[in-house]
Symmetry: C2
Subunit: 480 residues, 2 copies
Amino acid sequence: MRGVSVEPVPSASTRFRRVADNLGSTMAESDSGDLSRVVATVRERIDPDAAERAALRDAVDELTARVEAELADRSLEADVLQVGSTARGTWLSGDRDIDLFVRFPESVDRDSLERYGLAVGNAVLPDGHEEYAEHPYVTGRFDGFDVDLVPCFDVEDGASLRSAVDRTPHHNDYLRARLDDEFAADVRVFKRFLKGIGAYGSDLRTRGFSGYLTELLVLEHGGFEELLRAAADWHPPVELDPEDHGTRSFDDPLVVVDPTDPTRNVAAVCSAENVARLQHYARELLSDPREAVFFGSDPDSLSEEGVRGHVRRRGTHPIAVVFDTPDVVDDQLYPQLYKSIAGVESELARRGFAPIRSATFAADRAVLLVELSHRTLPNVERHDGPPVHVRPHAEGFYDAYAAGDDYGPFLDGGRYAVEREREFTDAAALLESETLFQVGLGTNVERKLREDYSLLVGDDVAELADEFGVELARYFDPRP
Amino acid sequence: MRGVSVEPVPSASTRFRRVADNLGSTMAESDSGDLSRVVATVRERIDPDAAERAALRDAVDELTARVEAELADRSLEADVLQVGSTARGTWLSGDRDIDLFVRFPESVDRDSLERYGLAVGNAVLPDGHEEYAEHPYVTGRFDGFDVDLVPCFDVEDGASLRSAVDRTPHHNDYLRARLDDEFAADVRVFKRFLKGIGAYGSDLRTRGFSGYLTELLVLEHGGFEELLRAAADWHPPVELDPEDHGTRSFDDPLVVVDPTDPTRNVAAVCSAENVARLQHYARELLSDPREAVFFGSDPDSLSEEGVRGHVRRRGTHPIAVVFDTPDVVDDQLYPQLYKSIAGVESELARRGFAPIRSATFAADRAVLLVELSHRTLPNVERHDGPPVHVRPHAEGFYDAYAAGDDYGPFLDGGRYAVEREREFTDAAALLESETLFQVGLGTNVERKLREDYSLLVGDDVAELADEFGVELARYFDPRP
């Protein structure tokens, strides 16, 4: 279910892809002739050739005919639309996704739509299987392509949709009317660029740029290079509204008002860090155009000895909570992991262990990793009281502590202060206690932790290299 | 030169006197009958009896006659005034200070005033010696009293003074016109109270309440108990202006505009902590009146083993800079020690060693003591860079670090960050380096440290118990 699995925490921590030859560049912009040559080279690798296009067209024609036949057999009033990147010429060579939507009139009730949709899908793709997003659809292989057959309603516009997928045909219409071959080529280049830097995808693991967003951004700026130059100078929040019809405000670093729905931000899922990543690499590419940026690759897996070497060199105190990965889809898993690691990190910070960085990984096992400045702390911790002049509050504080065996209360300037016994002097003890469950874990993460988990402390985290060597290599070389 | 010598840092840290039976009291006010009985008992111990008064009067009369004779011998136009607490009946039994001012006309030039003043003083107190405050005077013993003979100018009012002591006769006139026997008795009680809690004295070591301030506060509130009740409810900044003639504003926690000088705050030297100390003990005394508050005593000296026990129990990392005490008067020494320990503490805080508390002591040796949460730190320290969108600044940051061998720069949310090598991973190494001299030490402290100093680290600070056992006892039991 899961493939690659570094998941440094977005925003509170690290989320990065390392590009091989990316160091030591200066950022003065070079001339665009260099960039054009690099783009031309990239295009040679990603533009689908005539044979690929023909094969795709044939498959789509055949599938469309089959769906229409099935609809006719059942006397169903519905039409068939090809949508997605393969419908708009914006797919990258080698991508094999065909999306066909079966569009029913709004008068059909939801149950019937689902039932008819699945019946037609199963008939057309007899070896396929049913999937459930917001509502069910059929997915399967056909002539070497991955095909999704999705039923939807024929709604007036994006704002009046009855299910989340009803927007898609409107997006498709909007883009097909505007994307000529040259724009489509620039979209492919931009997609490849975003993939290369690790910012492509609106899934909740990546929190990056969706395909639709990518296309709108290229259109809005008039091409790939123009978009790069604009992005290099963005001052988030950046607000774009291609149809100039937005009706609300958004609290996101990047806002692109959906041309088919004035109330929706197409970039809502895109994190501040991915916006910054785009800006960083836009500048990199403009100042020193090179193909490698488009084809960032995983670093070499770090060995156990390599992890130990970094821990020694850094002089820090890593600590990892390790547990069986909950069996939920990535769009549920990763938000929970991010929430959990943020909760663990901030609790450890609040308790004085001074986290330096944190990350979360998942494969068979899931990991919440925090690197601390201190594993242990003094037995006493200072607790500031109220100013002495706030009489009832000050007297309450003084009386509360005067009878105990804390150090104090004493006067510090105009306030009371006390040095109390610290609840946790060892971060490991904290993570072994019930306090772990009070930091705001995700539901499924909490459930798995309740079943069982283990702690790895100090350079024992090197044990993780076996399963997460690539992720640890990125963690210990976090350059973008 | 120096006697007792705890000097916890004012405001940034601790300054406290421990009162023997002061714990576990509740703070609801008790009836004032109890307080009156306690005050009556205190008065039995501090009111000068008839014999003491008579002896004082005789000594003053004899001294005054001698000074007048010396003035006449020299044909000097000047008068003699008795000033200070013994002139106003506000001294505590056993205090033996006589202050006589020799007041010259304003027409005398400063050199002549100093010359005549010293000549007369030396003639009257042939066994005395010359002291130099703002200008010179003679001090000596007479009939068992400590006598100061001080020349001053006869100025119009406090605001037009030619030397700092010219105010004193005006203060004296103002108070003598207002302090009857009953007020004088209350002033004595208030002084004894301030001495008991360690807040009496406007010297720069104590930064507490001067005698003149004490008298003005009792007058202004109409008595000791009334003053206590008012102080218990103060909300600093507290501003009093007995003559309602103040012409400027002050940035002090307690402001008492001098009745003889509308531009002067009599309480300028009084620290926020001593104002808070007065408030704390006013409430204590009102809620649970007892004599002990008036006669706070030093705690038992802490042994080396006792110090080690506290360090172990606290789990902290104390570190002390030890050096020969500079040979300057306390009013120069203590401000320099306070400044130095504040500088050391804030530098260690800035460097990540998380000080818990600090103190400075002085006897033959002087000590700058800081108690740290961590003696050592990781080799890396996080350094946050600018938001990526602030292009020139962000590019400068990235380029500055990209070529180095730091961890990063990397993206953290919308910003760059880097993990740099920490300059000092050991607090002892920092205090052994030139950095110690860059924290804003006092001049004489810096000079002595340049000559030589040693560091005591961890429970080696126990070695200090021999010279500073009482101070360390207070440090480790900081309750007020």
